[in-house]
Amino acid sequence: MIEILYFAWVRERIGLPREKVATQAATVRDLIAELSAREERYAMAFADLESLRVALDQELSDFDAPLSGVREVAFFPPMTGG
């Protein structure tokens, strides 16, 4: 089981802040394909990967990173703090 977190407009499009998912996805990209195949709201949230960022276990990562051993995946738009 992987815990998936969504922030900002990704959270709003998918309609929930976090969920637990049973997946065999090997990479972040595979996980995104799995989720997008589920429901339209996921497909919409993940439509443009250019405008998305991903963190694995709270470290910024990239879509080709392997998921083996990862417990927490977070998807969000580019950050706008400060």
Binding site: F7, A8, Q58, E59, P77, P78, M79, T80, G81
Partner: protein
Amino acid sequence: MRLSVQTAPFDLGAEANAFAAAQTTAGAVVTFTGIVRDNGGTLSAMEIEHYPGMTERAIAAIMEEAIRRWSLADALVIHRHGRLAAQEPIMMVATAAPHRADAFAAAEFLMDYLKSRAPFWKKEIGADGAAWVAAKDEDEAALTRW
């Protein structure tokens, strides 16, 4: 080094005084404070979302890097989240170093990295509705100078 991610307002002056008073070897203290602009009266509030856990880790890593690179005597970051009104302070950084060039460079570095590498997202709430603030290309570009 002190780091606080909080919903409560903070007192810039009290923080700056406490930070400066704690310095024994630093001749230079720089502070930066970000304030919610009202965009000519169109903004009624700002909502800041963040990623608890990762926020603190990311900011701590950025601060440690700044302290190491500029041999800072001290550094401080306070960043609020939740709902903020126009004119309220969003965040502040402070740096202390023996010489001013290091204190200035480290404060700018902290700001550039906080803007683009700490997991905060801002939503502007106005009379016409709410909209997420888009990341600026110039903020990403600012990182390349370090």
